[in-house]
Symmetry: C2
């Protein structure tokens, strides 16, 4: 990646982390300046000089820059490692506060008429990863997992797989041999296999550009299927639980197609 792109990337990420554009620009500007006045910073970061002062004040309050109160004032960025650590601390604190606040509250009564046909949709690689890990942890009998992309075989996933109870069968499939090898060494207890769902790929590929992401079946009663946008890495999943669930139809189809039969000749 080009250096100017790195600068742009840094600015963008800082904004995602909650900074305004000027604040972000000033911070990356200072990061390559070691120390500077408002004027120099204004030129380097392409921020109107008169606005540098506001931006710096905010950054200082967040612990990202230091100010020398001389005349003229000098600014400098906190060392990178310190800055990232500070940001981490900030967010860790917020997430913790959120967790505490919500977990003293949860749940108002409900007039439950569970409509049995529960199929839920969710998005986001992180969220689906976490749900996958959680489901595997809670498995009591059998885990069937098909992984469609190398990037989905994360550390957390591996440790979840290795931590399942003793009586739980592990059946893991991959789309390529190299991926299967990785799985074999990472999760020795699992029975692995390749393919078994070419039909699924074929059927899908005609319609749109989505690739199969994950396919997870827990205790034959809970299922999660995700697809992966090849370019954007965006992941979307559907998720269902309960035997009577409509999604189990998919599971049956899979079994009929011979995917699950791999298990018996084991």
């Amino acid at each position: 990646m080009n250096m100017n792109d790195s600068l742009e990337e840094a600015i963008e990420v800082l904004q995602q982390l909650g900074l305004k554009e000027y604040e972000a620009r000033c911070f990356v500007g200072l990061s390559r300046l070691h120390t500077g006045t408002a004027k120099r910073l204004s030129e380097m970061a392409e921020v109107p000089r008169t606005r540098v002062y506001d931006a710096i004040r905010v950054l200082e309050a967040q612990g990202l820059v230091e100010i020398q109160h001389s005349s003229p004032q000098q600014f400098r960025a906190v060392p990178l490692d310190e800055a990232t650590e500070t940001l981490r601390d900030q967010y860790e604190g917020r997430v913790e506060r959120l967790h505490d606040a919500l977990d003293t509250v949860e749940m108002v009564e409900q007039d439950d008429e569970t409509p049995v046909q529960q199929v839920w949709a969710m998005s986001g690689q992180d969220a689906i990863k976490n749900r996958t890990d959680q489901l595997i942890e809670d498995a009591s009998e059998e885990v069937v997992l098909v992984i469609g992309d190398e990037s989905l075989l994360t550390e957390d996933l591996v440790s979840s797989l290795n931590d399942v109870g003793n009586g739980v069968d592990l059946l893991i499939g991959a789309l390529t041999e190299s991926l299967q090898d990785q799985i074999k060494t990472a999760v020795p207890d699992a029975t692995t296999f390749i393919s078994g769902l070419e039909w699924l790929q074929g059927e899908d590929a005609t319609e749109n550009e989505t690739a199969i992401g994950r396919l997870l079946l827990i205790d034959r009663s809970t299922i999660l299927v995700s697809s992966l946008m090849p370019d954007t890495k965006d992941e979307q999943a559907i998720f269902g639980e309960g035997f009577g669930n409509g999604l189990v139809v998919i599971a049956r189809r899979l079994m009929a197609q011979g995917l699950l039969t791999v298990r018996d000749p084991k």
Copy 2:
């Protein structure tokens, strides 16, 4: 804390984490509803019904809620642990990307005329903590530290103190006996003492409400002094390096006042 306050707190924190007000309200609303339609959620969360849909879409894209595409649609929040973990992952990723981006860039040349009189100001408890830890790690001869408030004795600080090189003297002071005891057990290698800066407290207390936070002197050439707003827990520090520094005057005053003489009779 009251439960309604918890709700408010959660909403506020979610906004700090980047959500809009409606999104935040909808999420905490769903968090206590287990599952709900737009109408119920609208009443519970005090969000206009017609706007619930937009908010939910954003939340779904972030992996914080699941949608059941039935009619009417049903929404539900991801379990709290999964949600916080997802948020964590999100921010960890961003901070990492920031670090990588800035790492490849740093430093444009500089016409250095170091004005020797460097006194820098910084704010924020996290940032000052990180700076403190860093300075202690880099110490080569002597660390003099005075801690003004119990909350400042963090794990990171303790491990930094215990990790200093062999030839480095550790001199740690506290304002109260109980704090001194904590330090003794946490950092056995240190020489501890109490007080030695009543004069500083006195002088300050007349003017404003700030209490002394940290006081750190590294190798007799780098110094950091912080004050703590008693109510807001807001911390502000000044920081200087180099022998010729004006701040060293303060260090001399401290020595003259007998603070540092504790070291000699050791």
